[in-house]
Chain length 327, copies 2
């Protein structure tokens, strides 16, 4: 498992710093190409070293600008950085809407940076397996920091906690009434709040309100979220933002059990999702069989209600195979 | 099944127009109270008569105002209307964020109107089973039109097609760059576009652009989406909006197979989701067993990768029970 000679060629290329091999593996992951599975398996022991930082927040708060500014800041510090932008995706095309049009400024010759856009959701809900696998490829490729940016959908935002060791929630001083309500979910995932657009009136007031709210709650697992005011456009506060993120990462490392426990929780969620994905395939297969055996006819004609039909399909598939064969 | 005497008391109360019984059943649905299941089963044959109209669109376009204006318009026509507002929900609290704070103007004494807020997502992704069941309760209670409003998350918006026979996508003349990208998904679900805030500059231009885009594509299942300009605030265009919605409903009824085929597709999706939900429960149970048998230990220590572990868990559970008992 650890001997380099036994690794698949694509895995060896990735580990040697071949960026085109990295990009090709990502494309295979996105296309659900089964040929990538042995490579992912071989690379898995090489992962777990990167700091995976999630950035979430409502549409229009300037998350991309914050990512851009953090990227520039980290490169100045000499840290290698990868960015994964998780886009809203159409369930029809299955593809990424933003595609490669991510608007990050970068030096194309800088091998210490890698940027990738991804479609947002797995078929069974939750952070897509593809997003996790792309992050692991970047981790194995040796990037020190991986910034995972969600592109503004409440549920996907909240699921960032399932992939990142530190979650940053980006907000602006003024948000509409509806967006305020989204905060209720976001509030619970934030390790760090970033109030962006510090130049807007009310930024300090918003930060003070947030700090008060944070102060009211009990610390979550011993950590009380930090609140940082920034202006990604001119770089104000970005150094402080990174300091706050790094402080949370240090907090995780302060007690060796703490980071391990957090990672174990994330892995448990991932396993449930992967097992569920397998079951979903079974459910779909069973339903096409079920159509033939008139479950759907009965429901459409209102002779059977959907739950009774679902129970019937489940019981039938779940029963021991021997019993199914002898009716 | 059809004899009133054999219906559960709560079902009889709902059918007799008892609004408090209706509200109580909805609360039971939201609380996953198993006592509601026989009532839902008994009422299922009484459903399928209401026109279920979905309204989706980005945050801040004034969907609630459009719903409000449609509600007032339909009441003037003498049509009974129910509104279900599907809210962004926190996966932590499980509850609805907006709660009962939906800002619809209504006459509290008007028995022809019923309004309910719901949490947005099922645990296994997709339109929550609870949303479908609340819509069915309203359908059985005799409301002619059920307006289902999503509160601004891309994925939930798109899933409105899984519940509504006509989907309305609400937009405003000017939207940010990121929101534009969301349209890519919304475009594919719209039976009717409503360009709201007609008083804003560019409304007519936006409507013309949309109409051109709609004209470029092939009709979907024989229907080409209508584009209506409205101003929900002063009621401009709301009558035209309803005419466009009603035209799509008439189109569905013009060929008797058309509505049946669309409903069958929605029911097939629902069955897959319900079966998946049952499998997800199994996956969770198996994982807690799996923790004991060290799957998670192996993944956390990077001795096994997550997919291999998930395959192991799945194969183990999926094998005939007899084989599992004798190792």
């Amino acid at each position: 498992m650890t001997g380099g000679a036994r690794l698949p060629a694509a895995a060896r290329a990735l580990l040697s710093g071949d960026r085109r091999a990295l990009a090709r593996l990502m494309t295979q992951v996105e296309n659900h190409d089964p040929a990538v599975l042995p490579v992912l398996r071989a690379l898995y022991p090489k992962t777990g070293r990167a700091h995976v930082i999630g950035l979430a927040g409502p549409l229009g708060v300037g998350k991309s600008s914050v990512v851009n500014a953090l990227l520039a800041h980290l490169r100045k510090l000499g840290t290698t950085v990868a960015v994964v932008a998780v886009d809203p995706s159409s369930p029809f095309s299955g593809g990424s809407v933003l595609g490669d049009r991510i608007r990050l400024e970068r030096d194309p010759g800088d091998a210490g940076v890698f940027i990738r856009s991804m479609a947002s959701r797995g078929r069974a809900g939750g952070v897509s397996a593809a997003t996790r696998e792309v992050v692991r490829l970047l981790d194995a490729a040796g990037f020190s920091v991986i910034l995972v940016e969600t592109v503004g959908s409440g549920q996907v935002d909240i699921e960032i906690r399932d992939i990142a060791s530190t979650s940053v929630v980006v907000l602006v001083p003024h948000l509409g009434d509806e967006v305020q309500t989204l905060k209720a979910g976001l509030f619970e995932i934030a390790d760090v709040f970033c109030v962006n657009k510090a130049d807007l009136a009310g930024a300090d007031l918003a930060a003070r309100d947030l700090s008060e709210l944070v102060g009211l709650g009990a610390p979550r697992d011993g950590w009380r979220p930090a609140v940082v005011v920034a202006s990604a456009r001119d770089g104000t506060g970005i150094s402080e933002l990174w300091t706050a993120i790094a402080a949370h990462e240090k907090f995780l490392d302060a007690d060796p059990k703490r980071r391990a426990a957090a990672e174990r929780t994330r892995l448990a969620t991932e396993l449930v999702e992967l097992v569920r994905e397998r079951y979903t395939e079974s459910a779909r297969e069973e339903l096409s069989e079920a159509s033939r055996s008139h479950w759907l006819d009965d429901v459409a004609a209102r002779r059977t209600d959907p739950r009774t039909a679902a129970d019937g399909i489940f019981e039938r598939q779940h029963a021991p195979k021997a019993r199914r064969r002898r009716p």
